[in-house]
């Protein structure tokens, strides 16, 4: 444990460099560059609002906020886990030649996505003022779901990264699973209107979205949702760390 911390300190700078690289290269050569982190959620929210506004019975002027809160969390989760899943294969050249603690690769992918996600929260703030959902004291609690989604992505990222080394199929399978997660996360519809409530319990990000919405809309956190989301986060994190740690020495034989 002690040596692991020492090792981390030594490679802290590498983590910083890799995270920076991911962010820098993502928008290099595009004209709008980092502005896309803001534009992308704005545009998708407009599209989703136009498409789904008719499905909502009553006129709800805060509907874009409802979509945005769900959509931002989901797209962070999907981008981060997808990238982390491929991190070991993508960096195989490096892994085969130089010793570096391997978790640095998925971790840097998650962190770079988290930073871009944090930037895109500016859009949410802007939208809150436009649609008159003014922040209350409960907005402070939003750090809890924001932290939980990071931990969840890290756990899933480690699990997926390990599995994808041994089975490339994981990449396609996860793509489909993510779609399923998106449709069952109540991003653009009201969860209470759905009969089959059990699907929401199977969704790892739904309860995080619920509490994030609560803090944005000025409601206290839902205790049950908090417990469920914490259970997802902690268990995926523990499984991820153990799985990754136990299999990491075998990666090099498969990549």
């Amino acid at each position: 444990m002690n040596s692991a911390i020492k090792n981390f300190k030594k490679y802290r700078y590498l983590l910083y460099e890799l995270t920076k690289k991911n962010i820098k290269l993502k928008y290099r050569r595009s004209y709008l560059g980092i502005l896309w982190t803001l534009l992308e959620p704005i545009l998708t929210t407009i599209v989703l609002t136009i498409v789904f506004i008719n499905f909502r019975g009553k006129k709800d002027h805060t509907f874009p906020i409802y979509i945005l809160t769900g959509r931002l969390l989901y797209s962070f989760f999907s981008q981060a886990t997808k990238q982390a899943m491929k991190s070991i294969r993508r960096n195989s050249g490096m892994i085969k030649k130089v010793y570096v603690p391997k978790y640095i690769y998925p971790l840097s992918d998650i962190l770079s996505n988290y930073i871009m996600f944090a930037i895109s929260l500016i859009v949410l703030f802007g939208a809150m003022f436009i649609f008159k959902v003014y922040p209350t004291k409960y907005i402070v609690y939003s750090v809890i779901p924001l932290f939980l989604i990071l931990m969840l992505s890290l756990g899933f990222g480690l699990i997926l990264a390990t599995m994808a080394v041994f089975f490339k199929d994981m990449e396609y399978l996860w793509e489909v699973t993510l779609m399923l997660i998106m449709y069952t996360a109540a991003i653009f519809y009201d969860a209470s209107k759905i009969k089959a409530q059990w699907v929401f319990y199977c969704n790892p990000i739904y309860h995080i979205i619920v509490n994030f919405r609560n803090s944005i809309y000025g409601n206290p956190l839902d205790k049950q949702a908090l417990l469920i989301s914490m259970a997802y986060c902690i268990s995926s994190f523990i499984i991820g760390v153990i799985l990754f740690y136990r299999k990491q020495d075998k990666f090099i034989l498969y990549i």
Binding site: K10, Y13, K21, K96, K97, K168
Partner: protein, 258 residues
């Protein structure tokens, strides 16, 4: 003075060679159910033990597939041995396939920081040595061009300049470095010889005995993953020539120009 820098104790490395590689879930499950998952064990290294003292220059001889590169990878920490233990004291600089860790979209300058971080340098250290690296690599204005537009020689020069900016305790060389043109090669050889003079411990892999004799003071021979000889460079080189290449001591000319 004779401090052990690298200690290799009973190291074995096993690879499971699958008869046909299974890397997707469907095949895996089918084979598992049919009980057709057979592995062929392959021992790349078997029970290797030796120590290298500070300032030693150890040559590692062996035919292709004898396990030389595997041994270096195990010492460098890239591969974890199946059995046994490796202890290395101090910093290792592996000069293997220079520039392999570069990101092609990044410019040379950005890659200096990235590659330096991979090697475990600190940011301040890289910043301090940045000018020296650029100057040594002779890239000039190309340093601000993405690495994907570099020639292979330019890449190797930059890789060499970054990897050798430190004074490593252990230097790992795979074959003799032939980096860039004749002029740069001379410069890079000089830098390596300087490291020798400063007392770096060297692990040098080759199958050309002349090079080993010129560089090393000790040598070992690997054959099919086993350590078959360990001793002073000259003695071991003669043994290697006789036993593995089939040339007597006086018939050395035949291998000279390889």
């Amino acid at each position: 003075m004779s401090k052990e820098v690298v200690k290799v104790e009973n190291v074995s490395m096993k690879f499971n060679l699958m008869e046909n590689k299974v890397d997707n879930l469907k095949e895996y499950v089918i084979k598992l159910l049919k009980n057709e998952l057979r592995y062929q064990e392959f021992w790349a290294l078997r029970n290797i033990s030796f120590t290298v003292n500070k300032g030693d220059r150890l040559g590692i001889l062996g035919l292709n597939g004898a396990g030389k590169s595997t041994l270096l990878k195990v010492i460098a920490g890239v591969l974890k041995p199946s059995e046994g233990k490796i202890t290395v004291k101090g910093m290792i600089a592996p000069l293997l396939e220079l520039g392999a860790g570069f990101d092609p979209q990044y410019t040379g300058a950005e890659n200096i920081y990235l590659y330096g971080a991979v090697m475990g340098y600190s940011r301040d250290f890289i910043r301090e040595k940045y000018d020296e690296i650029v100057e040594f690599s002779e890239l000039g204005d190309f340093i601000n061009v993405p690495v994907k537009n570099y020639s292979s020689g330019m890449k190797a020069r930059l890789g060499f300049a970054i990897a050798t900016i430190v004074e490593p305790d252990v230097l790992i060389l795979d074959e003799v470095l032939s980096v860039g043109d004749a002029k740069f090669r001379k410069k890079s050889e000089k830098r390596i010889l300087d490291m020798f003079d400063k007392g770096a411990t060297v692990l040098f892999v080759s199958h050309v005995t002349e090079q080993v004799m010129a560089i090393c003071d000790r040598a070992i021979i690997l054959d099919k993953g086993r350590l078959v000889a360990n001793g002073p460079a000259e003695e071991i080189c003669n043994l290697y020539d006789e036993k593995f290449i089939g040339v007597k001591k006086d018939g050395k000319e035949t291998v000279k120009n390889k």
